[in-house]
């Protein structure tokens, strides 16, 4: 058996990697690139890396690679930002509840999906707000300026994701409306918000908006930033969804109208289920973009995952030649893990829906 497999293996390699002169050259070139990039990277991050220690001294060896003790020492800040140490258990509860809820939704076998989704969208945000801000039930107040790290990154990303899809759908439908006022308002909103850099929106939300609002009427700076993020990604989402809406043949709405269904039932039961399915890759793309754009919040004075690392890099207690690099590699890996997870999950959903259409539920 092994002889046969290895024979097949050899044949596969010959047919796919060395079938022609050009193919052989490309294969060798590819291997060379992998060798030149991967080997030093692994060498630096794993082989020559320093794995334990409690000060910068351990990382000062000129031959040393990544300085992982720095990450370990900073882990608290990376996860919680400057959230009060004594109150970090509140953040832990938020993380655990959120993780349970999302896992419940993602595992196809578990029941009562709608109930869990409804709880996640209604009760959970209230719990999050109460736990994180405090101020009632004897919980100490923790101002939003102290929230940071992974907590802040996930909070901003989750808020953006949860709000941008419904707002984006509403905008896309409005843009296709027969009512001119609705249609032009949607177009104006989408084109203005999409035509402005996110940083500009964030600056406006954090600095300009308070100037316009009457005295005493102001929202928390983080809330203003969250609104800016939501509106920005909604505008993008609207265009993604519109692409899906346009792909639905006219015969679908005609058939539905001919059956006596009204606008909302046609939209909700016939058009959107098909349109959204078509644009899952675009939706996930927007989510991933949004997730990475959360790092821009550091520009208006918040310390998100990247902000925390950047401030840590400047810490003289950990000044080594590899500190900053280690920090960035770590943050990059965390972002990549979340985005890749999102993308894989979306892929699984697409496969499942495709199977459902072929009746292999």
């Amino acid at each position: 058996m092994s002889a046969l497999t290895s024979l097949n293996g050899v044949r596969w390699i010959r047919e796919n990697l060395f079938s022609s002169f050009g193919n052989t050259a490309l294969t060798l070139f590819g291997l060379a690139v992998v060798w030149l990039v991967l080997v030093p990277a692994i060498d630096w991050a794993l082989v020559r890396a320093v794995w334990s220690g409690d000060s910068r001294e351990v990382c000062l060896d000129p031959a040393a690679g990544a300085c992982w003790p720095y990450i370990e020492a900073r882990l608290g800040q990376i996860v919680y930002g400057f959230y009060d140490k004594a109150a970090r258990w509140r953040v832990d509860i938020v993380f655990v509840l959120g993780a349970i809820g999302i896992a419940w939704l993602m595992l196809p076998r578990l029941p009562s999906k709608w109930l869990v989704a409804a709880l996640l969208l209604t009760v959970y945000p209230i719990i999050v707000f109460v736990l994180l801000s405090g101020g009632i039930f004897g919980l100490d107040v923790v101002p939003t300026s102290r929230w940071g790290g992974l907590l802040l990154t996930l909070l901003v990303a989750a808020t953006g994701i949860v709000t941008s899809l419904p707002i984006g759908i509403a905008l896309a439908l409005a843009r296709q409306s027969d009512l001119p006022v609705i249609k032009w308002m949607a177009i104006a909103f989408i084109e203005i918000v999409r035509g402005v850099p996110l940083i500009t929106l964030l600056f406006m939300a954090s600095n300009l908006l308070p100037l316009f609002l009457p005295d005493g009427m102001t929202a928390d700076k983080l809330v203003r930033a969250l609104v800016a993020f939501s509106l920005f990604s909604s505008a993008y989402m609207a265009e993604v969804v519109r692409g899906g809406l346009q792909a639905i043949p006219r015969g679908q709405t005609e058939a539905a109208h001919a059956l006596g269904l009204g606008y909302w039932t046609v939209t909700g039961l016939i058009v959107l289920p098909q349109a959204l399915r078509l644009v899952i890759p675009g939706i996930v793309n927007t989510f991933i973009g949004l997730f990475k754009d959360t790092t821009l919040i550091s520009i208006i004075g918040f310390f998100d995952l990247l902000g925390v690392i950047q401030s840590g890099n400047a810490d003289p207690d950990w000044a080594t030649p590899n500190t900053a690099f280690t920090g960035y590699i770590f943050v990059g890996a965390v972002f990549w893990a979340f985005c890749f997870g999102l993308s894989r999950y979306a892929g699984a959903v697409e496969t499942r829906l495709a199977h459902a259409d072929r009746g292999q539920k």
């Binding site: 005609e254 001919a258 006596g260 016939i270 098909q274 072929r358």
Partner: protein
């Protein structure tokens, strides 16, 4: 409930324009309850546009249409009232691909007529039985042949218990071997006394079930007559030419 209105459909001098092109030129047609009308004519003659005006998938610009006593105007509740009573079958089937065959047939009764789900399901199953595909109920439209899909489309329209059925070239997109299975269902429906307006080139079907055959050309009704008369003695030259073209080979 039997309607008090004297006619199933009354079309009075309607005109329809697509931009500068006049698709219907002051067309009038009265259809009695239980009457079966076959509409034929060359492509672009306005026959599809005519029946699409009956359930307001197209808006007519001049004249009036009264369907079962309800005048079709821009009044949305009148339009929805008419659409509840008028079923339509399309050339391209237009089944909902994300719903099963059964769900296709129960959707409108549940959401428009507020029929309880169990009742809608048993009624849909009876209709699928009638169009001879009850065993496909839980499949998706994409898994069915064209003929099967069109029969589902008929069952879907019948599930609303319509008084009038519109057929817009129901067999034109089908492979030849599947045309008969769809026509059989339509013949059965006609025998049961359904009011039908059928746009088709299936002259055998017209001979068999039509009370009147209507020939349209260039946005006008050229002639309308019972099939025996229509096929034996066409009055107009245009009708003769058309018949010779489609029956000639």
């Amino acid at each position: 409930m039997m309607s008090d209105s004297p006619h199933a459909v009354e079309i009075r001098k309607i005109s329809k324009f697509f931009g500068g092109f006049q698709a219907l030129k002051s067309v009038s047609l009265t259809v009695d309850h239980g009457e079966r009308i076959v509409i034929c004519g060359p492509s672009g003659s306005g026959k599809s546009t005519l029946i699409r005006c009956v359930n307001r998938l197209e808006e007519h610009e001049e004249g009036e249409i009264i369907v079962d006593g309800v005048a079709l105007t821009s009044n949305l509740s009148h339009i929805e009232e008419v659409r509840r009573e008028v079923g339509m079958v399309f050339q391209q089937f237009n089944l909902f691909p994300h719903l099963t065959v059964l769900e296709n047939c129960t959707l409108a009764p549940i959401w428009v007529r507020r029929v309880p789900k169990a009742e809608a399901t048993s009624r849909a199953m009876a209709l699928l039985e009638r169009v001879k595909i009850p065993d496909q109920a839980n499949k998706y439209p994409g898994q069915l042949s064209g003929g099967q899909q069109q029969r589902v489309a008929i069952a879907r329209a019948l599930a609303m218990n319509p008084k009038i059925m519109l057929f817009d070239e129901p067999t034109s997109a089908l492979d030849p071997e599947m045309i008969a299975e769809v026509l059989d269902v339509m013949v059965e429906l006609a025998t049961d006394g359904m009011t039908m307006l059928v746009v088709t080139h299936e002259m055998g079907f017209a001979r068999k079930v039509a009370d009147r055959v209507v020939f349209m050309d260039a946005g006008e009704i050229v002639e309308a007559a019972p099939p025996e008369e229509f096929f034996a003695n066409p009055k107009s030259e245009r009708t003769k030419l058309f018949l010779s073209q489609i029956l000639g080979h």
